[in-house]
Symmetry: C2
Subunit: 405 residues, 2 copies
């Protein structure tokens, strides 16, 4: 009987541990086919350094329950890119370690870069006739993975965004004076999360009146014109923007305004398009303006867990185990939306078709003036934020599962 190992990689989300919970509970349940259930600590990188834990004996039952609603990567994450060359010695090294633990099933939970890892490991396994089954479980608040209706993590982040924007709208209307609130939302290349701010609108409050995504080139002139019209009509205006707004030449709009740095993947670290636009509005319109950056809370708030999202995250994890037990390998779990009433079915997609690609918001879901979302987008996003989750609480604060050190 073979053992199972699961790892987490890339930026954490509010429900990445929900998927971990799904893999672990399904693994522990499958006592006739699976021996031990291990967790890689800090992904492939930590595992290569000998870090792993036993998900049965190294955590209590209460911790396993709390795991489901704990944000961040319980197992620890990494940003480790496997070499393109499958003849690199890291591959046999890794598979030797798998062998030592008698691993038959490997699950990796992450976004684009993690699916790249799944792709390489499954191809390497095939090339050496290993029977280890390698599966990818998707997660990313950015919702930018292809071949799936959406990704676990997006729904809860979208719920945090819509709910927080709705709250800030209440705060912004306190005074009887025109004011502009600019809210900067994560999403460097895909505007899914900023777009979901549209759900904050309600019958008596049309804010956010303006929403700008990286999918459409941003024109400062047009923005100021649209903003002025919105202020004239509504006095209080909330503007939601993706952090990755770019001009017609494809440069991030805040690029030349402040010092920018580059991370180890060569990604530019952005320094605040919200605060850039705040300066612009102050200069051009002289109106009271403030900017807010939701920052990491949008990917780690468990206050705003979407029950739909969490349920699907758990389901993706357990479905991955079930499929691996059936012999499948080299796949990512995807969601297909059922027609009619909202409902999701899990499916398998070739991980090679997923990795290193990016799904952006369809242009036909963005209105012609580039500052609003269509009803199609609302119909798409609204079901994903539905339902509330109960978290274990103690003394008024959430109880989280934390790995032993």
């Amino acid at each position: 009987m073979k053992n199972l190992i699961v790892g987490q990689s890339g930026g954490p989300t509010a429900v990445i541990n929900g998927s971990l919970y799904g893999v672990v509970t399904e693994g522990l349940k499958s006592t006739e086919q699976i021996g031990k259930v291990y967790g890689m600590v800090h992904g492939i990188e930590g595992f290569l350094g000998g870090q792993y834990m036993d998900m049965d004996t190294d955590m209590t039952k209460d911790e396993l329950t709390a795991l489901k609603t704990t944000p961040g990567a319980f197992l620890g994450s990494c940003r480790y890119k496997l070499p393109e060359d499958l003849s690199d010695p890291v591959y046999p090294e890794l598979f030797k370690k798998f062998e030592e633990l008698n691993i038959g099933y490997f699950f990796y939970c992450g976004g684009n870069d993690s699916m790249d890892t799944v792709s390489k490991l499954s191809r390497y396994a095939a090339s050496v006739n290993s029977d280890i089954r390698v599966m990818g479980v998707p997660k990313t608040i950015d919702n930018d993975l292809v071949l799936t209706d959406h990704t676990p993590g997006f729904g809860s982040a979208a719920k945090f965004v819509a709910s927080s924007v709705r709250e800030i709208n209440r705060d912004s209307e306190a005074y009887d004076k025109p004011n502009v609130m600019i809210i900067e939302i994560m999403g460097r290349h895909a505007g899914w999360l900023a777009a979901s701010s549209v759900l904050a609108r309600c019958e008596k409050d049309p804010n956010p009146l303006l929403i700008y995504l990286p999918e459409v080139p941003f024109s400062e002139e047009k923005f100021i014109k649209q903003l002025k019209a919105a202020i004239d009509e509504h006095k209080h205006v909330t503007v939601c923007v993706s952090e990755g707004l770019k001009d017609a030449e494809g440069n991030f709009i805040s690029e030349d305004s402040v010092e920018t740095a580059v991370d180890q993947f060569g990604h530019k670290i952005l320094n605040g398009c919200g605060s850039y636009l705040q300066s612009l509005v102050k200069k051009e319109l002289g109106v009271k303006v403030r900017s807010v950056e939701f920052n990491v809370s949008q990917r780690c708030s468990s206050n705003c867990l979407s029950a739909t999202d969490l349920e699907e995250a758990v389901m993706a994890g357990s479905f991955a185990v079930q499929q691996a037990l059936k012999g499948e390998t080299g796949y990512m779990i995807a969601f297909n939306r059922k027609d009619g009433d909202y409902g999701m079915e899990c499916a398998l997609v070739d991980v090679n078709d997923v990795c290193n690609r990016e799904k952006t918001v369809p242009l036909e879901w963005i209105t012609d003036d580039g500052s609003n979302l269509s009803q199609e987008f609302i119909d798409y996003a609204a079901p994903l934020v539905k339902g509330e989750c109960q978290r274990p609480m103690k003394d008024g604060l959430p109880v989280f599962a934390i790995r032993n050190r």
Copy 2:
């Protein structure tokens, strides 16, 4: 039979509408003593301009229920200071408007400045032998009002802070590398809210390891030393700071920063003290560091309502009405903590003794090294964040009461 009017003033909180709910429901209930229940729109300033509403006929029953958990100032707020000189014509103008609406009871919900309004109006009423009863209902997330154990609004803001810091701690530990997370929390002169981040700690996670308040002069040298020691011991370090940190000379630390970036318009990018410290840490220690500013969400998040706080906010409102009906005037509602198990009793304090004063965190509750809180503070703050609130929800998002325009 006289009518009642209630107004809101100053910066809104998550439970200022809870107090409004308390005043309104108690007023509507007192059918034998109170005729109509009015709300001033945009406080004294809006009322002088003729803005008010009927709290019974101008809102639905569902809206009244939703009001209790709606953040922001439902009635609209103002920042309007009445003249010191009680012979100013604005006073008879205001009282003439009270007379036109047959007002016998006036309630004003706010912080320091609003209590100044209550003080002046009650003194003016006495000077002209008016029988209008004037009462102050406290609110402020800053918790800086004197003569009361704490203020409504603080408990929910403290819960938001502690809960969000605990979530961010999970996010920050994802990678197996030293990193520093600096969280900037509201409080320009009083550090109550930043101090409450101490409640985020739990058995397996000692973060935030460092907490700095404006009550203690901030030394950059000492901070870097303390931070270096914390990183060496714990690898992942969360630092919580009040926005109002000052150096030994009493200057805000980010004020004269040479690091302050200038945007392309030549405007200084307003660095909060969090981003200032982020630059400092990067320069001095070269470690991975990020800063987060909770911004307005800490005063308007209804996701993190403390049931204790909301209950007390409602209680303060209804107690104010009860006392006014007994003939009291010129008081602010205060809370006295009962000995033993946590419990609050409402009391009356002379509003003249409250306004224009400020209560800061007692120095004996701050540890000698200036970077931590004592058990006394924890015992003080912990009960205030307890208990969860159910909000009316629709489609996964909170439903708020919004005034008709």
